[in-house]
Symmetry: C2
Subunit: 471 residues, 2 copies
């Protein structure tokens, strides 16, 4: 499978981004809807049943599907249809798109595979689909994709096992499996994450990264954007657009294909060569995109950056813990990840001396000792969050572990109170498994970033701040 010849750079043109109302159908039909639970057409229609507008199953072999009247074709549906989801075999797609065009459909989500990614025949079929769609002004998501989910609008056109929760993260993925896995991970009990948009871009025969980015940028629900990228074709336009967006909303990118072997595998997977990894890294840095390598990193960065009170201008951390061992490890991890654990000025150390026990370590990380109660944490944080001291640091890391003196709920409340008081970033680290969950839950209810693993705290902070030039 050969790739298209290299074309001239396309510049970012907001006019060319698909208008947001294409994503907001009044009525949706699933062409290829099914009652057979093993079929994509089953799940795609099932997931659409939560939609608030009319949803129509289309299948010429059934009278009824999943309790709804079934139509033999899109044209047989009496009402208007804005959006269709296609799960029918590839060879039927061109004629169906033609019919959709005649029906006045604005957007077709083509889940079906067997196009450009397969062979020359598939490539020709895809070109034909695009040609027909252009004729009628039908816009296309896919083909060869998981589909599109807009949880705030209860719109799920995909065949995921369970729809994701509504939230403020947009996830745009070049891999359907990755989107599927991410939706599954986002439903992990006690660590739930919500989305404003989940889309698997598929072959991008029409709508591409820029369109989905455009939706996320303009969508009031979206606070941060995650991309899973194997290859971006219109790199110049992407950079121009990303530079604009990152002024307002963080973009975090998982870029696959850093290895030589990986670049070859990506070529086989998407039918096009991945660009050099370093070129992407440099491009991302230039337009303010945070590059990460794993899904949990992306989630955590997106959550934290989406909830920042003000942009992070520095990477100076103060660390407060009741565990000496975690103070030691904090230094290790922070140094490795480029987070500066800064010295606390002598006059503040002296002030802390007045209320901390004799044998505290007089240093940052502040080791409040294993018998530390809530008051010690509050005392130190009162000093550090006093207005004139807020400029001394950018990030406060509060670490606790299971112990008899301080309940996880108390630490949760400390996080809530000082996150409210401070303009800086306050994060919590609850190291010790399920028994600390009440504190985690409390903090999460107030959108305070929490971690259950210490290295991950500094890894995430390091990734979030790596584009910041040290002062």
């Amino acid at each position: 499978v050969q790739d298209e010849p290299v074309t001239l750079p396309i510049h970012y043109d907001p006019e060319k981004i698909v208008p947001v109302d294409y994503f907001k159908p009044a009525a949706v039909a699933v062409i290829g809807a099914s009652d057979d639970k093993t079929k994509m057409g089953y799940a795609a229609f099932h997931n659409l049943l939560q939609f608030t507008g009319p949803v129509y199953p289309v299948n010429n072999t059934r009278e009824e599907i999943q309790g709804r009247k079934c139509y033999p074709s899109i044209s047989a549906i009496p009402g208007h249809v804005d959006m269709v989801v296609l799960t029918i075999p590839a060879k039927f797609v061109p004629s169906t798109i033609e019919e959709c065009g005649q029906k006045g459909v604005k957007m077709a989500v083509i889940i079906t595979a067997g196009f450009k990614e397969m062979n020359e025949e598939g490539r020709a079929l895809e070109a034909k689909v695009v040609e027909i769609a252009r004729k009628y002004g039908v816009r296309i998501v896919g083909p060869n994709c998981l589909g599109l989910i807009l949880p705030p609008y209860k719109l799920d056109t995909t065949y995921v096992a369970a729809s994701p929760l509504p939230g403020d993260i947009a996830f745009i993925s070049q891999s359907g499996a990755m989107a599927n896995a991410v939706v599954g991970m986002s439903l992990t009990k006690g660590q739930e994450l919500g989305f404003s948009e989940v889309v698997s871009v598929g072959n991008q025969c029409d709508l591409d990264y820029l369109d989905y980015l455009g939706y996320a940028a303009n969508d009031p629900h979206t606070k941060s954007i995650i991309l899973y990228v194997e290859e971006i074709k219109n790199g110049v336009a992407f950079m121009e657009m990303a530079r604009e967006i990152t002024k307002k909303k963080p973009i975090i990118a998982i870029k696959a294909g850093s290895s030589k072997r990986g670049q070859a595998a990506a070529a086989s997977h998407t039918g096009s060569l991945s660009g050099a990894y370093e070129v992407y890294m440099e491009a991302f840095r230039k337009c303010g995109v945070i590059a990460v390598t794993t899904v949990p990193e992306a989630f955590q960065c997106a959550k934290i950056m989406g909830a920042l009170k003000k942009p992070l201008y520095g990477k100076r951390a103060v660390v407060i813990t009741n565990a000496g061992g975690f103070a030691v490890l904090s230094n290790d991890y922070a140094e490795r990840r480029g987070i500066d654990i800064v010295d606390i000025p002598e006059h503040l150390i002296k002030e802390m001396d007045t209320f901390l026990p004799e044998f505290w370590n007089r240093n940052n990380p502040v080791d409040l000792l294993g018998d530390a109660d809530e008051a010690r944490f509050r005392g130190v944080l009162d000093v550090l969050t006093r207005e004139e001291n807020e400029t001394l640091w950018d990030i406060a890391v509060i670490i606790t572990f299971p112990n008899k003196v301080l309940s996880p709920e108390q630490v949760g409340q400390v996080l809530i109170d000082y996150q409210k008081k401070s303009e800086n970033l306050v994060v919590g680290s609850f190291i010790g498994g399920d028994c600390l969950q009440p504190g985690v839950d409390l903090a999460r209810e107030h959108d305070i970033p929490v971690f259950d693993e210490l290295e991950f705290v500094y890894r995430t902070l390091g990734l979030m701040t790596k584009n910041i030039i040290r002062k």
Copy 2:
């Protein structure tokens, strides 16, 4: 607080390791047992109630504690006592150890803090305790520690919130908080881990790393050993001993204090300077100890290495997945972590061609495509685990995600069957949250390593194999 002067190297002498029977008391007393749930003496006695032999609370202000007859002193206990746990204030410890010596106690677990780690006075107190203990042959765990847990013997002398499960990992920690956190983490639902020994070494005034290592090395329950190390004093003896042990059981070490700032913090925490990190790394490598930086890495390495059918002699991986994106990322992560994703010989590719769909990628990672059923996985694994092909690779990584064609249970069964068939290491990666848990559970029941995050697969494998010299 000044450290002792440097002494001559002490060589490893098996005769000097505390005999195993010191860890196997017939009867235990808690001196400082309490009915007040906020006290360490409450939890320490509470956790001992599960012990199969007699347990006695000692407290001169109570008649009864937690439903058991309470004794005013150790000497007042009518029966024999082998082991005592001390939660009384530091100043009472010397006289109590004297009394324990007279009673014939063999081992005292001194949880109490306020000794060497505090100040010169504490150091003198500790020296006095050691002197008295030596006089009577009482051996000491601690002081200033969480205590000792031997789950297979239902012996828990610590004040952890919930006792860990019995299992085959020994965890020896220089931080009480770390031991406490690790026990908590080991009880995380769906990811439970069991221990043969958990000990927080405290000030090591008598028993030290070598003694606890000796226990783990000789203990039939222990399959692998994890150390959390801030500083090892008798480094030569440690290396000599570790070199012997790692021939039979893996030792994994989390070494804290790699940063300059961390080394200073460790000095404040334990009252002694951490050695240069690089010296430790080189020493670990020389004696076959696996150095890691985080607790999850340590756990995963310990679990996998403890269950190996044969030692890992190489780092050649075959990767089989139904997700193209995870094939790409596998290459990235593997390359970054030093795992070799090897080429599959042409004749085997041709053989796989006979049963795989036309558009499979003919490469390693083997991308079986999103519609892959169990048969495709089994077909590829049948080829790779055929006796003459087992020498082509060391590790098989099977990756799945939530999809309609292949249930997590099916992947779990594939893992079970081919782990049974192969002498090589087989690991599973279930990427997609709770909905894959049935497959995870199935694999875990058969001691097959499973991961819920892909980068962690290769990070762990990289750590496990980094001491292996590439061929």
